[in-house]
C-alpha cells in the first residue's frame, strides 16, 4: 500500500475495520485469518461500556468505491461510539506490564494498566501511556527498504522476502547472528529455534538500562538471579543508585510497592548516589556519594554495623575491616556522622532492604561494589525477609534473555573479526547506544548483510542492508515474561488492539516463522502464522492451567481476556554465600577530574522513546527541562568552570567530546557531571532528530572485570566552557522555591505515624 492510500483512510475513523477486505488483498496473509484475529479480539473483550442506542449505518470507502456498510449485524468489536477494552502487553520497556487498551471504531485510543496484572496492578507509567504514540507515530516505517547502490530504497514485501531468502540461504548458518533487546516468551523461543536451525550460537542481547551485574551478584550470593524484593515489607530501604521508582528493573511495580511502603508505619528511604534520581528525589535522606565509591560507602556502613555488634560473614571481614567509617568518609565524601547514622537507622529498622543500582554496577569494579551492597543485606538478615526466593519459573524456555552490555562488546568484536555474514537486529539500536570507542559503526561494514526489523528509521536501520518494518506492539501477538516476577508469576499475553496501520507489515512472530520456514519448512508447516502458533502453545499447556476442565478454546479466550496467564512456581530458599570483596582505591585523574553519569530518564529511557512527542514534551522529573539534553553540574563545580545555567560546556573524555548546555543543580556530586540519556539522535524521526547529545558516545570501553559489562558510569571526563549560551527550555522558570506559600507543606514522619500510623 502506498502512503497515499493511508492518507485517504485516516480521516475516516472506521477505516481499519471496514477496509479490511481491501487491506488483506495487499497483505500476504489470507483473509480468513485476519477475520479470525479480530474475532478472537472480540472474545478477548474485558468490558464494554455501553451507551445503548440504535446502531447507525455508515459510509466508507472500499476498494475505491463508496459503499454503504450496514451496522445491522456488526462485528462484536465495533460498536460505533462505544469504547471496548482489550487486554494486552506493554512493550515500552522490558518490565512486562499488562495493559488494557480502549478500542473505538477499530482504533486503539487509550492505554491503561491491567488491574489483573500483578506487575503493574492497573497502573501505567508515562512510557506505557505513550504506547499509542509509538503505534501511531508519523515516522513509522510502512515499507521494506533495501540498500541499492548505497542508498536505502523502498521495495515490495515480495521482493523483501525473496532477498531475505537468498541472502540468508547463501550465508553459512553459523555466521548468522541475532542482535536484540531483551526478548522473552515465544518470540525468544522462535529466535532460539531460528539460530538452532541455522546452527548458530550468536544471540546478542543488549540493553543499556540493565541490571546484568546485579543479576550476577544475586546469582552468586543468593543463588537466584532475580529474587523478589519486598519493598513494602521493608521498614527501611537503602538504595545505592537503584532508581526503582524511575528506571530500575520494574519501576511501575515498585512504585505500587512504594505506596504501601510509605503508608502505615511508613518506611524510611535512604538513597546514596552521585546524581539525584527520581527515587533520590523522594528520599528521606539523600546522600551525594562521590561517583564510583558507592562500594566503599557500603563497606563503611558495614564497618559501622560491625562496631554495633552485627556479625560480618568471614569472607568479607577483611574488606569490611579495611573500611572504617573515617576512611570511607574520606573516600566517599559522606561524613562519618552520616555513615554512623545510616548504620544506626539500618539496625533500628528491621527488616530493611539494600539495593544496588546502575551507578554502583556500572564501574570497573562494579561487581565488587554490588557485592559490598549485597553484603549489607546478608549482614542485616534481610535475605529471606525482604529478599525472597522467586523459585524457578515453570517455563524456563519462555524466560527473558535479559539484555546487557557485554553482548554489545562481544558483537562489536565479532563484527570486527569478520565472524558474521548476516545479522538480524530487533528491539535494539546499537549504532545509537554503542560508545564510539567500541568502533561498532566501522565494524558493521564487515557484516555483508544486515537486516533490521524495526518500526522506525533509527540509526541502526540507517546502516542496514535490508530494513523490515515490523508491527507495533498494539498490532502484534506475543507472550512476555518479565525478568522481575512479583509474588504471582505471570506470562503476559499480547494481542492486537487493532489492525495494522501498514498492511503487509508482519509482527515479530510472523517474521520469525517466515524465516524459520525458509530453513525448516516442514517443522512449522502446521502454523499458518504466529497466531496459530501461540494458540497451539496455549493448547499444549498442562492440566493445572485448566481449572474446571477448560477446553483449549475456553482457555485461550480466558487468557486473552485477562491478558495474562498466572503461573506458580515453588519458591526455594536463598543462599547467603558472600564471597571475598576486593575494592581497590580509585586514583584521581588530573586530566579528567570529573565522572560522566549518563543518567537514564523515566520517559525517553535509553533513547528509544525520543520520537514520542508526549515524552519529549513531558518535563524531566527533576530538572523540568524539555526537548533537550543538559549537563547537571553542582554549583561549586559550575563556579569553578565559570559557567551558569544555559552556558554550553564541552565534555571531553579520552574517547570523544560532546557539547551540551549546563543545568546547575545541587543534586549532583561536585565530582560528577550528569548528562541524561535519550537525546542526540541523528536519525529516528522528526521529534527526535537534532535534539541534544548522546552521552553514550563518549564512554570509555572499560568493562567490569568480573562480568565483562561496560563500565557505563566509569568514564572520566573534563569540562570546559565554550562561551556559547543558549537558554534551556523548561517548565516553570522560577521553580526553585515556593516563596513562603503553603503549596507543598511538609510534616515529620513522627507526626505522620502519630496521626495516621498503623
Amino acid at each position: 500500500m502506498s502512503g497515499n492510500e493511508i492518507k485517504s483512510f485516516s480521516p475516516a475513523p472506521f477505516r481499519s475495520i471496514l477496509s479490511a477486505g481491501s487491506a488483506t488483498q495487499a497483505a500476504p496473509l489470507p483473509r480468513i485469518e485476519r477475520r479470525d484475529f479480530l474475532k478472537m479480539m472480540g472474545w478477548g473483550t474485558v468490558g464494554v461500556t455501553l451507551a445503548g442506542c440504535d446502531l447507525p449505518s455508515t459510509v466508507t470507502l472500499e476498494e475505491g468505491k463508496e459503499t454503504v456498510v450496514s451496522y445491522l449485524s456488526p462485528e462484536e468489536y465495533a460498536i460505533p461510539g462505544v469504547g471496548v477494552w482489550y487486554a494486552s502487553a506493554c512493550l515500552q520497556c522490558p518490565a512486562g506490564c499488562g495493559i488494557h487498551g480502549r478500542v473505538r471504531e477499530g482504533l486503539a485510543l487509550k492505554l491503561e494498566g491491567n488491574p489483573d496484572s500483578p506487575v503493574n496492578r492497573g497502573k501505567l507509567c508515562q512510557m506505557g501511556q505513550s504506547g499509542v504514540q509509538t503505534h501511531y507515530n508519523p515516522d513509522r516505517l510502512g515499507k521494506p527498504q533495501l540498500r541499492k547502490h548505497g542508498k536505502l530504497v523502498d521495495i515490495s514485501w515480495d521482493e523483501a522476502w525473496k532477498v531475505l531468502a537468498e541472502k540468508v540461504g547463501a550465508a553459512s548458518g553459523a555466521r548468522v547472528a541475532w542482535f536484540t533487546g531483551t526478548v522473552s516468551g515465544h518470540q525468544a523461543v522462535l529466535i532460539g529455534e531460528h539460530l538452532e536451525a541455522l546452527g548458530s550460537k550468536h544471540h546478542f542481547v543488549h540493553e543499556v538500562i540493565n541490571n546484568a551485574v546485579g543479576r550476577a551478584v544475586n546469582q552468586d550470593v543468593l543463588g537466584e538471579a532475580m529474587p523478589r524484593l519486598d519493598i513494602d515489607k521493608a521498614k527501611l530501604v537503602l538504595s545505592f543508585g537503584a532508581d526503582f521508582l524511575g528506571t530500575w528493573v520494574s519501576p511501575t511495580h515498585f512504585a505500587t510497592e512504594y505506596a504501601k511502603f510509605r503508608s502505615g508505619t511508613r518506611g524510611v528511604l535512604v538513597v546514596a548516589e552521585p546524581k539525584m534520581s527520581l527515587t533520590g528525589a523522594n528520599a528521606d535522606l539523600w546522600l551525594a556519594v562521590r561517583p564510583g565509591t558507592e562500594g566503599m560507602l557500603a563497606l563503611g556502613i558495614a564497618h559501622a554495623l560491625m562496631k554495633k555488634g552485627v556479625s560480618v560473614p568471614e569472607a568479607a571481614r577483611a574488606a569490611v575491616t579495611a573500611y572504617a567509617p573515617e576512611k570511607a568518609a574520606e573516600i566517599t565524601g559522606i561524613s562519618v556522622q552520616r555513615i554512623e547514622q545510616v548504620a544506626a537507622l539500618l539496625k533500628q529498622h528491621s527488616p530493611s532492604l539494600v539495593l544496588a543500582g546502575a551507578t554502583v554496577e556500572g564501574q570497573e569494579q562494579g561487581y565488587q561494589a554490588a557485592s559490598a551492597v549485597m553484603l549489607l543485606n546478608v549482614m542485616l538478615g534481610n535475605v529471606g525477609k525482604t529478599l525472597v526466593s522467586r523459585g524457578e519459573f515453570p517455563f524456563p524456555q519462555l524466560s527473558p534473555r535479559t539484555g546487557n552490555t557485554r553482548d554489545l562488546v562481544a558483537f562489536a568484536a565479532a563484527a570486527k573479526d569478520k565472524a558474521l555474514d548476516v545479522a538480524f537486529f530487533y528491539g535494539a539500536n546499537p549504532v545509537y547506544t554503542a560508545p564510539d570507542s567500541l568502533g561498532l559503526v566501522a565494524a558493521l561494514q564487515n557484516i555483508p548483510f544486515k537486516v533490521v526489523l524495526t518500526q522506525f528509521p533509527d540509526e541502526t536501520a540507517a546502516q542496514a542492508d535490508l530494513v523490515l518494518p515490523v508491527a507495533s506492539s498494539l498490532e502484534d501477538w506475543g507472550t512476555h515474561v518479565a525478568d522481575y516476577q512479583p509474588e504471582q508469576g505471570v506470562i503476559t499475553f499480547q494481542q492486537p488492539l487493532m489492525e495494522g496501520l501498514y498492511p503487509g507489515t508482519p509482527g515479530l512472530g510472523d517474521a520469525l516463522l517466515k524465516l524459520l520456514k525458509m530453513r525448516a519448512a516442514q517443522k512449522y508447516s502446521a502454523f499458518n502464522d504466529y497466531f496459530s502458533y501461540l494458540q497451539n502453545a496455549v493448547a499444549s499447556l498442562p492440566e493445572q492451567y485448566r481449572a474446571g476442565g477448560l477446553t483449549n478454546k475456553q482457555l485461550w479466550e480466558q487468557t486473552l481476556q485477562k491478558g495474562l496467564l498466572t503461573v506458580d512456581s515453588a519458591p526455594g530458599s536463598l543462599n547467603t554465600n558472600v564471597g571475598e570483596i576486593t575494592l581497590n582505591e580509585i586514583k584521581a585523574d588530573a586530566e579528567y577530574p570529573l565522572r560522566l553519569i549518563p543518567s537514564p530518564r523515566l520517559g525517553l529511557w535509553d533513547g528509544r522513546h525520543a520520537n514520542i512527542p508526549w515524552l519529549q514534551e513531558a518535563p524531566d522529573q527533576i530538572s523540568k527541562i524539555v526537548w533537550d539534553s543538559w549537563a547537571e553540574l553542582h554549583p561549586s563545580t559550575a563556579a569553578r568552570l565559570g559557567v551558569q545555567e544555559g552556558d554550553v560546556v564541552e565534555i571531553a573524555s579520552a574517547h570523544g567530546a560532546i557539547k551540551v548546555k549546563v543545568y546547575v543543580f545541587k543534586g549532583v556530586h561536585p565530582d560528577a557531571i550528569a548528562v541524561p540519556l535519550g537525546q542526540g539522535h541523528e536519525e529516528y524521526g522528526r521529534y527526535a532528530k537534532g535534539l541534544g547529545v548522546n552521552p553514550l558516545k563518549i564512554l570509555s570501553p572499560a568493562v567490569d572485570a568480573r562480568t565483562g559489562e561496560l563500565a557505563l558510569y566509569g568514564t572520566r571526563v573534563n569540562a570546559t566552557r565554550t562561551g556559547v549560551h543558549e537558554e534551556l527550555v523548561k517548565e516553570g522558570r522560577n521553580n526553585i522555591s515556593q516563596r513562603g506559600r503553603k503549596l507543598v507543606a511538609t510534616i515529620t514522619a513522627e507526626q505522620f505515624r502519630r496521626t495516621e500510623g498503623v
Partner: protein, 474 residues
C-alpha cells in the same frame, strides 16, 4: 520669538477681525505646511506595519504576541492608554466649558476630536487581543437565539457598554459643537466640501432661537459627558480592581486611572497643540499663553497622579498583603524595574519642567516633554498590566515577558491609525472653533474696554481660572 514678545500675556489678540478668523481657520482645510503631509505618510507607514502584524496574528494565532501567564500585555496596556487619552478632550470641552474657562476656546475642538479618535483606537485593542476576534460581538447583549447572554458580572462586558456610550456621546458632542462652524465653512467653500458642509450643518443659519437651543443642548451634553468620562475609566480600572490579583486588586484604581487618563490626555493636547500650530500656521490662535495654561493644568494633574501613586504604594506597604507587596517590590527591583523607574521619572519628575515659565514657553522643550510624559503614562499602563502577570500568587508560573515584534507593530500601528484619523479630521473640519474664538476675542475686547474705563492696565487676566467669569455668561 517676535510673537512671543508681542502677546506675552494675552491668550489671544483682541483686535482680530471676525472675517480674518474665518479665513485663517478655514485656510487649514486647504494649505497646511509640508510637515502635515510628512506626518500623514508616517502614519500610513505605521498603519501598514500594524495591519500586517494584525493579519499575521489573526492567521497564526496569539502566540505571536503573548505567552503564559502573560495573557494580557501590550494590547491591554495600550488600550488603557488610548482610553486615557480620550479624557482630556472631555476635560477641555465639557468641564472647562461649564466652569467657563475662556482660554480653552481655540483648542477644545481638536481635543474633542482627539477624544473621539482615541476612543476609536482604544476600541480596536480589546478586539485585536481576543483569541477569536471574529466572535467579538458576543460581548454585546443582542437578543440571542439560544438565550446566551453575555456575562453581566464581568467587568469586560461593562467595558463594552461604557466605551460605546462614551464614544457615541463624545462624537455627538463634537458634532453639535461644530454646527455653527460647519455653517461658516459651508458659506465659504465650493464643490464637494460645500455639499458636505451643507448636509452636516443641518440648515444652521445662526438665528437667535438656534443659538439659544444650541447653547442649551451643548451645555446639557457637556454636563452629561462629565460623569460618563469619569465612569468610563473607572470601569476600565475595574477590569483590574475587580480581579483578585495582587497589584490589580486596588481600591484606589478608579481615581488613579482617571487622573492618569487626564494626565496623558493633557500631555497629548500639548503635543497636538504644537503640531497643529505648526501645520496650519496658527500662531495667532494657539498662543503661548494658552500653551502655558495647558502646561500648568498638566502639572497640576501630574501632581494628583503622583499623589495617588504614593497612596497606592503606601496602602500596599501598610496593608501587609504579602502578595501585593511582592508584586510592588518586584516592580521596583525586578526585571521591570527600568520601566517602572522610567515611568516614575517621566510621570512625576519630568513634569516639574512645566513649573518653569521659560521652559513652558519654549516650544521644542514642550514638544519633547509632552511626548515623554505620554511615554511615561504608557509605561504606567504597562506597569499595571504586566508585573502582576509576571509575579502573582503562584510562583511556579512566574515569568517575565518582553513584548514581541508583533505586539510592538500593532501598538505602533495604532498610533498610525489614530494619527490618520486625526489628520484627516483636521483637514476636513475646522479644528479651531471659529465662533468660540470670536466670542473670546469679543470678550477680550469688552474686558479691555472695561478695564480701560476702570483704569486697569491692559486686559490681563488670571492665567488659569476655574472661577465663574461674569462676562462669559452674558
Amino acid at each position: 520669538m517676535k510673537e512671543t514678545e508681542l502677546h506675552h500675556d494675552k491668550d489671544i489678540r483682541d483686535d482680530l477681525a471676525w472675517s480674518q478668523i474665518n479665513s485663517d481657520i478655514l485656510k487649514s482645510l486647504e494649505n497646511p505646511r509640508r510637515g502635515y503631509w510628512y506626518t500623514v505618510i508616517g502614519c500610513l507607514v505605521l498603519l501598514a506595519i500594524g495591519i500586517t502584524a494584525a493579519v499575521l496574528q489573526y492567521r497564526y494565532g496569539l502566540g505571536m504576541a503573548k505567552n503564559h501567564p502573560h495573557m494580557w500585555n501590550l494590547y491591554i496596556a495600550t488600550f488603557i492608554f488610548w482610553i486615557g487619552m480620550s479624557h482630556s478632550g472631555t476635560l477641555l470641552s465639557a468641564i472647562l466649558h461649564i466652569v467657563h474657562a475662556d482660554w480653552r476656546k481655540p483648542i477644545y475642538r481638536f481635543a474633542e476630536a482627539m477624544t473621539t479618535f482615541s476612543l476609536m483606537t482604544a476600541l480596536l485593542f480589546p478586539v485585536i487581543h481576543l483569541g477569536r476576534l471574529w466572535n467579538f460581538y458576543w460581548v454585546i447583549p443582542y437578543i440571542p437565539a439560544r438565550g446566551t447572554w453575555p456575562n453581566f458580572r464581568s467587568p469586560l462586558s461593562w467595558d463594552g457598554f461604557a466605551i460605546m456610550t462614551y464614544l457615541t456621546s463624545s462624537a455627538l458632542f463634537l458634532y453639535i459643537g461644530m454646527l455653527p462652524d460647519l455653517a461658516i465653512a459651508r458659506d465659504n467653500t465650493t464643490g464637494w466640501r460645500k455639499k458636505l458642509y451643507s448636509t452636516l450643518s443641518l440648515g444652521w443659519y445662526g438665528s437667535d432661537r438656534q443659538w439659544r437651543i444650541f447653547r442649551k443642548a451643548y451645555m446639557l451634553m457637556a454636563i452629561f459627558l462629565i460623569p460618563l468620562a469619569v465612569s468610563v475609566h473607572s470601569i476600565v480600572s475595574s477590569d483590574f480592581a475587580m480581579s483578585i490579583m495582587p497589584g490589580w486588586h486596588v481600591t484606589t484604581f478608579p481615581p488613579y486611572f482617571v487622573s492618569g487618563a487626564l494626565y496623558s490626555g493633557c500631555a497629548a493636547i500639548v503635543t497636538l497643540f504644537i503640531l497643529l500650530r505648526y501645520y496650519f500656521r496658527w500662531e495667532e490662535y494657539m498662543t503661548l499663553a494658552i500653551l502655558e495654561k495647558i502646561c500648568k493644568l498638566t502639572f497640576a494633574i501630574a501632581m494628583v497622579w503622583t499623589y495617588l501613586n504614593l497612596v497606592e504604594f503606601s496602602s500596599v506597604w501598610y496593608g501587609h498583603d504579602i502578595y501585593a507587596k511582592e508584586v510592588l517590590w518586584s516592580k521596583m527591583t525586578g526585571a521591570y524595574a527600568p520601566a517602572f523607574w522610567s515611568m516614575m521619572f517621566f510621570g512625576s519628575v519630568l513634569p516639574f519642567t512645566l513649573a518653569f515659565q521659560k521652559l513652558r514657553r519654549h516650544i521644542p522643550t514642550m514638544m519633547a516633554v509632552s511626548i515623554l510624559l505620554n511615554v511615561g503614562m504608557w509605561l504606567e499602563r504597562w506597569m499595571i498590566v504586566s508585573p502582576t502577570l509576571a509575579e502573582s500568587f503562584y510562583p511556579w508560573a512566574w515569568d517575565v515577558l518582553w513584548p514581541t515584534l508583533t505586539s510592538w507593530a500593532i501598538v505602533l500601528g495604532s498610533f498610525g491609525w489614530f494619527g490618520l484619523l486625526f489628520l484627516t479630521f483636521v483637514k476636513i473640519f475646522p479644528s479651531v472653533s471659529m465662533y468660540e474664538v470670536k466670542e473670546m476675542v469679543y470678550h477680550r475686547k469688552l474686558a479691555r474696554e472695561k478695564g480701560a474705563a476702570h483704569g486697569h492696565a491692559g486686559g490681563a487676566q488670571p492665567a488659569f481660572s476655574l472661577s465663574m467669569r461674569k462676562e462669559d455668561g452674558s
